[in-house]
């Protein structure tokens, strides 16, 4: 009798990305020209092979995901891996974020001799880790994906080996990340001891039948949620966010600030909704505390920042607070609002960090807020794009960010938590201040030099324009994306 052939089709995109990540790594190792350039520290030699291969891989993975992703739910690897509507949507967004990150970063990396094969290989491994997390239906798969993502990111942060700041950031990230992983494993072990299974769907069944020891459940939950908070960057587990965003090369910050949030959202959904739904009453309260703290700390601390990357880092914390508000309502409307929010956030964050990367030229970073003074006089189009993104992040109509906040607030009010909605809008008001300050710097202040900012990289400029105008267009016609998120969640939770 032959052993049963495993059905691998649901995991086809993951397999492709894995193979290609290895190929990209190997090509670099055997490319003599590249090795010579690396040895001599020569600047500006484009690694076309790695760049093109990465883009092709992500596009191909997108094609596979789009074609294999049916409306139904498929399992692979004995139920450890799930491919459902939510996974497809989140993966497509992840590829999109990866593609945008690669295109936005190309010039930046080339200028700083960072455009090495490792960057592309690590980026692909990180994407793979996210994909595995998104498709996890088993605690082990979840952990596997999480670690693959995290380890790739630690290395990416330290990509600029000779920068003390970057290496320090990488160390901090690694130590704190390892601690969070430890907490997660500890929590998982408690849940395993309690339910006797690592499979998320099975765990939900067991928990629904009632558990003997509520204390173990509560402790397991606390540890797991702490890890969730860390991965999302939600207060009070947010300490790493500003330092890592600030310390990492901007091109890496761009990546860290975008796609991993999708995976973190999947992490929350798989773990809390698929696996721990019966304990909703417990985690709801913890998430509420985290959400309010994140909104408060993120928005208040962002006001005091003078560095654009740090400011955006704190703003991320506040955005994650909003995301948690959507999740904690505990119904399909709330989950789809959170899904919509995270997608909107990733689009906005890509644009904002993309512009920061784009405005940085060889030998000059556009990191400090003062660098944006009078941008309207020097590069009106880029200033307009940044203006759109800032106002969108502030949650003003008619931009995408408003509808993201709207759907979340609607879910929160619908769940009868009107006071939470009032708290959220009050902190949004605080948030509006620092986003408006960027607009103020760009439009009201006079530039320190009148020299026009000529930025190379037509492809990045084009994509940034699409990104910025997309935020406006999705704000004027929000229906398609909103409906897509709602449909996806309804399918995934059926």
């Amino acid at each position: 009798m032959n052993p049963p052939v495993p059905i691998l089709l649901p995991a086809a995109p993951e397999i492709l990305v894995l193979v290609m990540a290895c190929v990209v790594l190997l090509i670099e190792a055997y490319d003599a020209r590249a090795r010579a350039a690396a040895a001599s520290g020569e600047v500006g030699v484009p690694r076309v092979a790695g760049y093109v291969l990465t883009l092709i891989t992500l596009l191909a993975a997108a094609a596979i995901t789009a074609f294999t992703g049916g409306p139904g739910t498929a399992y692979a690897f004995n139920g450890m891996f799930v491919d459902d509507a939510m996974a497809d949507l989140l993966k497509l967004m992840t590829y999109l974020a990866g593609i945008a990150a690669v295109i936005y970063s190309r010039q930046y990396l080339a200028d700083r001799a960072l455009m090495r094969g490792e960057y592309f290989a690590l980026l692909l491994f990180a994407v793979l880790g996210m994909m595995v997390m998104i498709s996890a239906s088993h605690l082990l798969t979840l952990y596997l994906g999480l670690e693959l993502l995290s380890l790739s990111l630690y290395a990416l942060v330290a990509l600029k080996r000779d920068s003390t700041q970057a290496v320090e950031a990488a160390m901090k990230y690694f130590v704190l990340g390892a601690l969070a992983s430890g907490l997660l494993l500890y929590g998982m072990s408690m849940l395993y001891g309690l339910t006797g299974t690592l499979e998320l769907a099975r765990m939900a069944q067991v928990l629904a039948g009632g558990v003997e020891n509520e204390v173990v459940l509560a402790f397991g939950l606390v540890f797991v949620i702490a890890a969730v908070g860390f991965k999302l960057g939600a207060a009070p587990f947010h300490m790493w966010v500003p330092d890592i965003y600030h310390g990492a090369p901007t091109a890496v910050t761009l990546f860290i600030g975008s796609a991993p949030k999708l995976a973190a959202f999947a992490f929350v959904m798989r773990l809390l909704v698929d696996g721990l739904q019966p304990a909703q009453g417990d985690w709801q309260q913890m998430l509420a505390v985290m959400a309010v703290l994140s909104l408060a700390i993120g928005n208040l601390a962002a006001i005091m920042q003078t560095n654009m990357k740090r400011m955006l880092a704190y703003s991320t914390i506040a955005h994650m607070g909003f995301l948690l508000l959507g999740v904690l309502t505990g119904d399909t409307g709330g989950y789809s609002a959170a899904l919509y929010y995270v997608i909107a956030y990733v689009i906005m964050s890509l644009g904002a960090f993309g512009l920061v990367v784009h405005l940085a030229r060889a030998g000059h970073e556009a990191e400090n807020l003062d660098d944006y003074k009078g941008l309207n006089a020097r590069a009106p189009w880029l200033a307009a794009l940044m203006g759109i993104l800032m106002l969108s992040m502030a949650g003003l109509p008619p931009f995408l960010g408003f509808y993201a906040k709207l759907t979340v607030l609607q879910a929160v009010v619908g769940a009868g938590l009107t006071w939470l909605a009032v708290v959220a809008v009050l902190f949004s008001l605080v948030g509006a201040y620092y986003y408006l300050r960027v607009v103020k710097l760009m439009y009201f202040d006079s530039p320190r030099s009148l020299e026009p900012i000529g930025t190379p990289g037509g492809d990045a400029r084009l994509l940034l324009s699409v990104n910025g105008l997309g935020v406006l267009l999705l704000g004027i016609l929000p229906q398609p994306l909103m409906a897509l998120c709602l449909d996806t969640m309804q399918q995934a939770l059926r």
């Binding site: 009106p380 709207l406 009107t418 009032v422 201040y433 909103m482 709602l486």
Partner: protein, 497 residues
């Protein structure tokens, strides 16, 4: 009448598209004349497409007219739902006309980033029309908040020395109000069983507790915009720092949005709470009329004086609204339109002086009549209208509101009547110090009288002020049916226990 022709959409989108075109085609200040002409064409087109609203309006019905309704965000039952009644229609015309004037007024004054300036006003105009036409809660909110963005940029980019402070204060102040309203709108959505239709909210029975909460949320949103005492402090700053065009739009239109909100949201949606808290609203209005009138008296800065006078005049509007009688509400509406003309004209007059002398201080002027007689004559008319002289538009609204107040309480009417004294005092005293007397200094002696363009702008407004003052019937006729319907609606409690 072209049945089903999307006139309201045109009034919203023609200026916005024109603004985007101006932005796209006129990036260069060296081709500023072309940019200005393009902006003027856009503004005129915006006004022309709004005219059918007046000519095709059926004044005999309180129903919404020119209705357009299509699904916008079907997933959340949000509609692109537009329509006007006798209350909102005049404001769309007022706004479209003001945009033309503002473009003309900024013609030569703005030499720096002309395209962005003109585009901001055109886009702002479209968004404001959207506010007055929207009948879907979210659509209203989108326009209501989006209109802050162009105004923020206008104040911050072309304003006076303290413009950044004023712009941010203006923005955050008004945002605070609107965010609370957003929660109220979402709450109503669930109470109404999943509908953002404002007209269906009018019929929605609510408990007193819910009505009071909603009242407070709407109060913050609209009172800040009006602005009512004590949340008025952003206005003097914004007015003083804004460029002339910004002040004009702010005074003539943006303030009206707040008052309009009271009529469209507060009174019909929470009538019982409105009755319950009417004493508070009346008290705040009277404070605005009396106290702010006194504050206006001591201002040394002309723009600040007119800003405070705006607050006092808007106090009249809110006073009229919360009397719950026809004279009060119609008087308030007439006052809004009249104030739109008069305050716009006064800010333009100050702008005319400021462009020449670069000072807004009353003390820097004196004897202007000797060098600018044509200007002095027009300025006189507007000053009189601001003081409420019979025969000007300023008189009609104030008189109606005072009559309406007497129906309710003699003492309130007496307090409100004080405005006629204070208004005359601060306006005419300022006028006297600026225009009459001996020529104050050599700079005043060198002043040039207004040119054809300035004369056209002020002359147009003068015609409007006189026409409305002598024969206000066409305007009150248009709003009569809608106001009667509103009063009838508000008179019936929709309380549930």
């Amino acid at each position: 009448m072209l049945e089903g022709f999307p006139i309201l959409s045109l009034t919203i989108w023609v200026p916005i598209v024109a603004g985007i075109l101006v932005l796209a085609l006129g990036g260069d200040d060296r081709r500023a004349d072309g940019t200005r002409s393009l902006a003027l064409i856009g503004a005129l087109l915006g006004f022309v497409v709004a005219i059918p609203l007046w000519t095709g309006f059926d004044a005999s019905t309180p129903q919404m007219q020119f209705v357009e309704r299509t699904a916008w965000i079907a997933a959340f039952n949000i509609h692109y739902y537009l329509g006007v009644d006798g209350i909102s229609m005049p404001f769309i015309l007022l706004n479209s006309l003001t945009t033309v004037l503002v473009v003309l007024a900024g013609w030569l004054v703005i030499q720096h980033k002309v395209a962005q300036y003109m585009a901001a006003f055109l886009i702002q105009s479209g968004l404001l029309n959207g506010v007055f036409a929207a009948l879907d809660g979210i659509l209203f909110y989108v326009f209501f908040e989006a209109m802050l963005i162009p105004l923020y940029l206008i104040i911050g980019m072309w304003g006076g020395p303290n413009r950044v402070y004023a712009a941010i204060k203006f923005f955050l102040y008004t945002l605070l109000g609107s965010l609370l309203m957003l929660v109220a709108v979402l709450y109503l959505f669930f109470q109404a069983g999943g509908s953002f239709d404002i007209l269906s909210w009018h019929k929605l029975p609510l408990t007193m507790a819910a009505q009071l909460m909603l009242f407070v949320a709407f109060f913050f949103a609209f009172a800040v915009k009006v602005p009512m005492w004590p949340v008025h402090t952003w206005l003097p700053d914004a007015h003083v720092e804004a460029p002339t065009g910004g002040s004009v739009v702010l005074a003539a239109i943006t303030l009206k949005v707040g008052a309009y909100g009271f009529l469209r949201f507060t009174l019909p949606i929470v009538p019982d709470a409105a009755h319950e808290l009417a004493w508070l609203m009346v008290a705040l209005s009277l404070v605005a009329i009396v106290y702010i009138g006194l504050v206006a008296l001591v201002q040394a800065d002309m723009k600040k004086l007119i800003a405070y006078s705006s607050i006092a005049h808007m106090g009249f509007v809110t006073l009229g609204f919360f009397l719950f009688n026809t004279l009060g509400i119609e008087g308030g509406l007439v006052q809004m339109i009249s104030h739109g003309f008069v305050s716009a004209a006064l800010f333009l007059c100050v702008g005319v002086l400021y462009d020449r002398l670069h000072s807004r201080q009353i003390a820097d002027y004196g004897g202007v009549v000797n060098t600018m007689p044509r200007f002095a004559a027009l300025f006189m008319l507007f000053a009189m209208a601001n003081a409420g002289l019979p025969g000007t538009s300023g008189f009609v609204g104030e008189f109606m509101v005072i009559l309406g107040t007497i129906e309710v309480s003699f003492w309130w009417a007496l307090a409100a009547g004080l405005t006629l004294i204070f208004g005359a005092a601060y306006t005419l005293w300022m006028y006297k110090r600026v225009v009459f007397g001996p020529v104050a200094n050599p700079q005043v002696a060198a002043l040039q009288d207004i040119d054809g363009r300035e004369f056209l702008v002020l002359g147009l407004l003068a015609v409007c002020v006189l026409a409305l003052g002598i024969y206000p019937l066409p305007l009150t006729e248009v709003m009569h049916a809608s106001v009667a319907h509103l009063l009838n609606h508000v008179a019936h409690s929709k309380l549930v226990y």
